[in-house]
């Protein structure tokens, strides 16, 4: 019996071609974005979204056109941080219009699609949903990247959830690993988790732009940022105190 590759007529479904078309759509959509930066951390609760939103606002105040893609599909917070929580997005054949928040920062988020307080849920058979849920989330991320009409942007910040899964999906969808801005807090526990994420980013080929140490002073102590900086030969771009000023964020923006 002949095998798949021995059948020479084209595969009418062309699933691989459909996937490649999706990737092409993402590339075309992001052609107007000068720089894409993934904000990530292996650790939850270190303030990735908080840093992302304030960094975006600082860049915008300094004259850049900035967008934030909230890639935390299950715990989206960017619209609230940019005070766009009750805005609705508009869709046309050209794409989905992002929402504009504080300081003119554009954003897209799953929070804009869900009812307040509702968890992200997909239609479909509930039994064994783990089989397809991950693919569904990756597809949602792909549509966020490929269908949002950002226009021309100087910087698109991608706010990733804790862990590595979304980062890996992002690399696959983009085709090239994005530059990474890493967020940690000073503690050894955060350092150990963030180290794994940075190692994964390096292994994938991402450029490490630097480290932001958040929640510095008061309760948390340690040398996480300095340790990681030395280990990965990447700078500590900012140490964010518990009550940062706009100048704190501007300084970070200027060093990014």
């Amino acid at each position: 019996m002949r095998t798949y590759h021995q059948l020479t007529n084209p595969d009418r479904s062309g699933l691989l071609d459909q996937i490649l078309t999706q990737r092409q759509r993402v590339a075309e959509r992001l052609a107007g974005v000068r720089r894409t930066v993934a904000v990530m951390s292996g650790k939850g609760g270190v303030g990735k979204s908080y840093v992302t939103a304030h960094l975006a606002r600082a860049l915008a105040r300094d004259g850049s056109s900035v967008g934030v893609l909230d890639a935390d599909l299950n715990g989206p917070t960017i619209p609230r941080l940019l005070e766009t929580a009750h805005a609705a997005h508009r869709t046309s054949d050209e794409g989905v219009a992002p929402i504009t928040g504080l300081d003119g920062v554009k954003c897209i988020s799953m929070a804009l699609l869900l009812e307040d307080g509702a968890p992200l849920a997909f239609k479909g058979p509930s039994a064994e949903s783990f089989v397809w849920r991950g693919a569904m989330e990756a597809s949602a991320l792909r549509e966020f990247l490929g269908d949002v009409n950002w226009g021309n942007l100087d910087t698109l910040l991608l706010d990733l959830p804790p862990g590595m899964q979304r980062y890996i999906e992002l690399c696959d969808i983009l085709g090239n690993p994005p530059p990474v801005l890493t967020v940690t807090i000073p503690t050894p526990e955060s350092r150990d988790a963030v180290r794994r994420a940075m190692r994964a980013a390096v292994d994938r080929g991402s450029e490490l732009l630097g480290i932001v140490e958040n929640m510095v002073g008061q309760e948390f102590s340690g040398t996480a940022a300095d340790d990681l900086s030395k280990e990965f030969d990447t700078p500590v771009l900012a140490r964010i105190p518990w009550h940062p000023t706009p100048d704190t964020w501007s300084a970070l923006g200027s060093r990014l």
């Binding site: 009418r12 699933l15 459909q18 078309t21 949602a140 549509e143």
Partner: protein, 135 residues
């Protein structure tokens, strides 16, 4: 994905795709030599896996619309399947003290199978499968 008619040693040609609405998918393929037609039938989980990739069996004839997958699959409201007018009318004839329980049974049945709209036909199927005669 390709289909081979082993007897004729011929690649079968895609015929048509059907989405019956119960979460399953049917795609037919025909042998150009002997004319035999086979149908590929996927269960709701397999259908969902294909859907989650944003691809279509049989190929795409028009480009995907913006947020096509998200709009089709993300539960943006209260969740659960929609009820057709006929199904709602039939539901209203059920005594009120058990109506909520019966409605949940049908909704759970539909959700487990990826059914997005409950119709009288779906209710009949569920009733037969679950042994709910009289509901």
């Amino acid at each position: 994905m390709k289909f081979l008619c082993v007897e004729c040693d011929q690649q079968m040609a895609f015929g048509e795709r059907q989405l019956p609405g119960d979460g399953t998918l049917a795609a037919t393929f025909k042998c150009p030599t002997c004319g035999r037609v086979v149908a590929m039938l996927t269960n709701p989980m397999e259908t969902q896996l294909v859907s989650s990739l944003g691809v279509e069996i049989g190929g795409r004839t028009v480009p995907a619309k913006p947020f096509e997958m998200v709009r089709a699959n993300v539960v943006t409201g209260g969740g659960g399947p929609a009820w057709s007018d006929d199904a709602q009318e039939r539901l209203s004839r059920i005594p009120s003290f058990v109506r909520g329980m019966v409605k949940k049974i049908y909704a759970d049945y539909a959700k487990e199978r990826g059914i997005t709209e409950i119709t009288p036909a779906i209710m009949d199927t569920a009733r037969a499968e679950l042994g709910l005669e009289g509901m």
